[in-house]
């Protein structure tokens, strides 16, 4: 910029709108002096205001301005700073905002995002009638504490410091050096905060006969530090994000696609249900079956069901394979059903009871099945899996299904294993496939014994 800016305040919509003697007036003038001192480019500066009388402030500055919801000004400011790091972002929030938006105060301090928070702290909700806030001193009289405030005032500085804030200052609007402190807060890298104590001449000052010197007394009585409370700079979040995540990011690999059509015996839409326990890799194994079917030239959907607990309870995947587009993704009448655990049985018992004779049910041989019309193939899935890998039971089961049913070519199955699984997982799947021939034979023996 070539010309010096004498003031960042503008009269465009009139003079400042505050009550006579209101601390906000002095706070904004101190902010103006700080901006004049720093000569920031107005087009690269934004003042974000919270709700309350202080929320009227942003439109009186020649910088960008944004006035949002109660308690949320910090969140908008963080979004702006993260998206556009070159901006100087200043938040004006009252003590009310520190209450309703307390979590955002903690989290901006914790993350250390480079915004400057100026709290216009006048111990009450000045705009809505002077109700008590998180910063109202003990025994303070307000419309909501008519017999005196019983709640301890929150030390905003200590709170911010506990959450990790690097630069924290407490002052009053009567301080001569407030503009310099604000300028320091703005230039300080990382999150900085000034808790600025001031007078609400409409409410709190009147109902509590508060005088200028009382501010310092209240601080002393409550062990609230006056002046610089913390100066412990640490790395700023946005800068770290850019160096750690963005600068070192590798371009994403192109997604692996399937072009092969390695053969299948599917003439119509076919439904395969796999029921087991959460943590048994039901979804992964079903996914492999799906990818194998795609390698075989089929369309596939995989609908999943599991409880909100992750490693316990059931996990059921419904795989539909079809030569054509698949619409309805649930399976009302399964063609194949794999059951590997008690959890799976518990969840699908009523479905198993209704399976038609056209369905083949591959089941871990130790499970007690309800009556069903389905063709049952009992397999020592658990015992086989134990020999391969603790978590391989579902892979053993789908290998047995592929081998026994012939719905897709073995080439398609091995193609999917090598193309989509990580080497260690692929080895397990290949061993499962290897074991499946013996398994099917064993299954037939179990069946004939049952007969």
């Amino acid at each position: 910029m070539n010309t010096t800016i004498d003031t960042y305040l503008t009269n465009e919509i009139g003079p400042l709108p505050f009550c006579p003697g209101c601390g906000h007036d002095q706070l904004l003038k101190a902010l103006d002096k700080a901006l004049v001192k720093l000569q920031l480019d107005p087009a690269k500066t934004v003042i974000v205001t919270d709700i309350g009388c202080i929320g009227l402030s942003d439109q009186y500055f020649i910088t960008h301005g944004f006035h949002g919801l109660h308690g949320r000004s910090i969140t908008y400011a963080c979004g702006m700073k993260l998206a556009r790091p070159e901006l100087t972002v200043i938040v004006l929030m009252g003590d009310g905002g520190c209450g309703i938006g307390g979590s955002h105060l903690l989290n901006v301090a914790r993350r250390n995002i480079d915004i400057t928070l100026l709290v216009a702290n006048n111990f009450n909700y000045g705009m809505t009638g002077g109700q008590h806030s998180v910063s109202t001193p003990l025994s303070g009289i307000t419309p909501t504490t008519p017999m005196g405030n019983l709640e301890s005032a929150m030390d905003l500085c200590k709170t911010a410091i506990a959450a990790g804030a690097g630069w924290v200052y407490r002052g009053t609007t009567f301080d001569k050096d407030l503009p310099d402190r604000i300028a320091k807060a703005i230039t300080q890298p990382g999150f900085s905060m000034i808790d600025i104590w001031e007078m609400c001449t409409a409410y709190y000052m009147l109902s509590n006969k508060l005088k200028k010197k009382d501010l310092i007394d209240i601080m002393g009585r409550n062990n609230f530090k006056y002046g610089l409370v913390a100066n412990n700079p640490r790395p700023e979040y946005g800068a770290q994000y850019r160096t750690t995540y963005v600068d070192t990011a590798t371009p994403e690999r192109k997604p692996r696609t399937i072009k092969t059509k390695l053969g299948n015996n599917i003439k119509r839409q076919t439904g395969i249900v796999i029921a087991g326990s959460a943590g048994q890799k039901v979804r992964s194994a079903a996914g492999l079956l799906a990818q194998s079917s795609m390698c075989a030239g089929l369309r596939v959907t995989q609908k999943v069901d599991y409880p909100n607990t992750v490693m316990t309870g059931h996990s059921v995947s419904e795989i539909i394979v079809s030569p054509e587009r698949i619409n309805y993704t649930a399976i009302d009448t399964a063609d194949y059903f794999i059951l590997v655990s008690e959890d799976g049985l518990k969840n699908t018992k009523s479905r198993i009871e209704k399976l038609p004779s056209t369905c083949t049910l591959y089941v871990e041989k130790s499970l007690d099945l309800p009556h069903t019309e389905a063709k049952i193939i009992r397999l020592p899935l658990m015992a086989t899996a134990k020999k391969i890998n603790r978590l391989s039971i579902c892979f053993v089961a789908i290998a047995a299904l592929v081998k026994d049913s012939g719905i897709i070519s073995l080439d398609a199955f091995t193609e999917a294993i090598t193309a989509f699984q990580k080497p260690a997982a692929a080895e397990i799947s290949l061993r499962a496939l290897e074991a499946s021939s013996a398994l099917i034979q064993a299954g037939q023996e179990v069946d004939s014994k049952n007969l």
């Binding site: 006035h67 919801l69 908008y76 979004g79 994403e252 997604p255 596939v300 993704t329």
Partner: protein, 374 residues
């Protein structure tokens, strides 16, 4: 080109990236969480920013802040998170802030069944904030459509300067399908029209009520000051009733006058049909099967699938009504969008809802039995 096997949530994130989304903030919630994982993983690779907020309010707040500086922002949640978004959605409507919001529906009310599908948030999403201004809401039926409609949602958000919702469902978000996203024909990418240094901020807003104002980035050369309070065309606070009414009319006019531009429907009209199925989302796939079955049995039946739910595609709906005596509206809720249909139909046309909210999909047979045979 070839087939991929991906879930709806990945398709949504891919659609967002295809639309040049460069900011994401979200809070984990089933079944939307993996959208966040994809964005957190992918955005830094293209120079964007993705962050997990401390809660839903912070997440949408950060998106709004980023969008005001010019970013294309995305957030994703489910019903409980929508409740927390509510106030900020109103801010985004009033501030005419482009933003895409994914509502991955799950069974409610409240916590409900966190890993089960539902379509219970249709009217909630439509009326999710105070004031009652029009919304743009799209609803995909497949993983491929989740990709396409997310991309389109960004275009609409930019074009109309408004939050746009993608109303999806666990049954699309977490269902994997074989898809070929490269085959999807996408419209040209739209970016918001920006002010030039000669324009005063929001200068075009009130030339015509339906006109979409130009956008001035916070941090751009054109100084922009915007207040969430009732404001005039310059973004300044106002208490003038005339100006306030004008702005309210403007929010409505810009969306409602664009009904036909926003409308996305798929028609399967059979000549002479007296039955019309109206459906959206995952349930429309059951309808496709039901319609095929019914035609095989000799019924004449038409089907209208809505990909855009709001603004209500009145023109397309009215057109599909010709000769229809019975309308069937199957929904995974207790009857929500059917109310929009009932508003439009002439006397003498029967409207039947097929409703279920037990977390399972409506099957084609249920739709035929309860919608047509009963």
């Amino acid at each position: 080109m070839g087939l991929e096997f991906i879930e709806g949530n990945e398709a949504i994130s891919r659609g967002a990236l295809k639309a040049n989304c460069n900011f994401f903030a979200g809070y984990p919630i089933s079944p939307s969480s993996s959208i966040a994982y994809h964005m957190l993983n992918k955005l830094p690779r293209v120079g964007g920013v993705a962050i997990m907020g401390e809660d839903e309010i912070a997440s949408i707040g950060m998106c709004i802040g980023a969008a005001m500086t010019g970013a294309k922002a995305l957030t994703a949640t489910s019903g409980p998170g929508m409740s927390l978004y509510s106030e900020n959605i109103g801010l985004a409507v009033g501030g005419e802030i482009p933003l895409v919001i994914i509502n991955a529906q799950r069974q409610g009310p409240a916590i409900g069944s966190s890993t089960k599908g539902a379509e219970g948030d249709i009217l909630f999403t439509r009326w999710c904030t105070s004031g009652g201004q029009p919304m743009i809401i799209l609803s995909p039926a497949t993983v491929t459509e989740a990709y396409e409609l997310t991309y389109r949602a960004f275009n609409l958000a930019e074009k109309y300067r408004t939050p746009v919702f993608l109303l999806t469902n666990k049954e699309i978000c977490l269902t994997r399908e074989s898809v070929d996203l490269e085959q999807v024909k996408l419209p040209r990418l739209v970016n918001r029209t920006r002010t030039t240094i000669d324009d005063s901020c929001f200068s075009n807003r009130l030339k015509a009520l339906h006109e979409v104002p130009k956008f001035a980035d916070i941090g751009g050369d054109q100084i922009t000051r915007f207040t969430t309070s009732s404001h005039d065309e310059a973004g300044y606070f106002t208490s003038n009733p005339e100006v306030i009414q004008k702005m309210i009319d403007h929010y409505a006019a810009k969306i409602e006058s664009a009904e036909e531009d926003i409308t996305l429907v798929k028609q399967d009209i059979e000549a002479g049909a007296e039955i019309l199925m109206i459906s959206y989302g995952i349930t429309s796939r059951s309808v496709t099967v039901a319609v095929k079955k019914m035609r095989e049995q000799g019924y004449k039946v038409s089907s209208l699938t809505l990909q855009s739910l709001y603004p209500v595609p009145r023109t397309a709906l009215s057109k599909a009504l010709a000769g229809i005596k019975r309308i069937v509206v199957p929904e995974m809720n207790m009857g929500q969008y059917i109310q929009e249909v009932q508003r439009l139909i002439p006397k003498g046309v029967e409207v039947v809802g097929v409703n279920k909210m037990d977390t399972t999909l409506l099957s084609p047979d249920e739709i035929i039995e309860r919608g047509v045979l009963s």
